[in-house]
């Protein structure tokens, strides 16, 4: 197996690296780490851009990831979680895109942490974490929580045995808890 020393976890493929490790690797110039992080957070960033920037959503998404590429070295794990930092970058970028007349808001200022609420960070992190689950586990969890379907209803809708639904839901939730455990407290 190839050693990915730039991720800070020798022998760990990018898919297994933590968000913080990916940001460190991006700061060191790892395009592989950048693509992995973009894959994880594309949906979450899209949601922020759609909410804040509206019709300029696509420009916003591109600009967010361009900023992440340029500013990854500014991430300081002592000041917050990777999800909080990424959400801050996304919010500020979206606000700038929304109002190009406004004086651009720098993403690296100390007060950035105050731009996002803990609940927002949770939702942002959750979107990215769900994107890392196998599709069937993600689908079952989204149907159960977001569509409020019972396991029996999910089984009918997906035309799979009830036992499979139970199993995928358990595995998915345990996997999300495992990803949460990787987050700094």
């Amino acid at each position: 197996m190839t050693a990915h020393r730039s991720l800070g976890i020798p022998s760990a493929p990018p898919a297994a690296a933590t968000d913080a490790a990916l940001l460190r690797a991006i700061a060191a110039g790892s395009e592989e780490a950048f693509e992995e992080l973009r894959g994880r957070y594309a949906g979450a960033v899209a949601r922020v851009c759609r909410t804040v920037a509206g019709s300029d959503r696509e420009d916003c998404e591109q600009e967010v990831f361009a900023r992440i590429w340029r500013k990854a070295a500014l991430f300081d794990p002592a000041r917050g979680s990777p999800a909080a930092w990424l959400l801050t970058v996304a919010r500020r970028t979206a606000l700038n895109v929304q109002s190009s007349q406004r004086t651009p808001l720098p993403v690296e200022r100390d007060e950035d942490a105050g731009l996002v609420e803990a609940v927002d960070v949770d939702g942002f992190w959750l979107d990215a974490a769900l994107a890392r689950l196998p599709e069937r586990e993600r689908t079952v969890i989204e149907l159960a929580y977001y569509d409020d379907l019972s396991e029996g209803e999910i089984a009918k809708r997906l035309r799979v045995p009830l036992g499979s639904v139970k199993s995928w839901k358990r595995r998915g939730l345990n996997r999300l808890a495992g990803l949460l455990a990787e987050e700094p407290a």
Partner: protein, 186 residues
Amino acid sequence: MTHDEAWRRLPDLLEDRDDAGLLAHVRACADCQRQLFLLGRVDRMLHERASAGRSTRKRSLVRALLGATAVAAAAAVLLVLFLPPQARTHRFMLRTASGRLVGEAKLAGSDARNISLSLTARSLPVRHGDVFVLWAGDERSSLQVGHFMVDRSGGCRVRFNLPDTHDWRRLWVTEPGRPTHVVART
């Protein structure tokens, strides 16, 4: 029950599928307790995300209705008047960090300004005293609901009123004077 089997089934405890064998293992297993704590956080995040999405959809629906004809607008007003109280009838289970079920809280619309909260606790840990503090929180804020006293077995039935100004989604119990020491939570 083996550790692997218990670990696989830990998410069942989020849905009140209490299993004596599973709970017995969790009580004795620090790894499972930590995983259950993390599962509880994930469960809460998913519920909050779902609730936020439903609120957005409800707002969109109301806007669409208000933009239609006068008759449709009247219908929208009726929806606004009658949907929220139904949506606010919630039942919450309170558990300790180890997953032990120690109480149940029901939130129901009381009047135009208040939400009625009835708490039934059982077997709350009374080693540090018989008075506890109940807290409620929404997405952005928290509120100390009030103090309550339990009997020797850690049980009680008590009612509170909450202001109908927030979408209360989280409840937790602490010891008095120690707001960060959570005894049980939803």
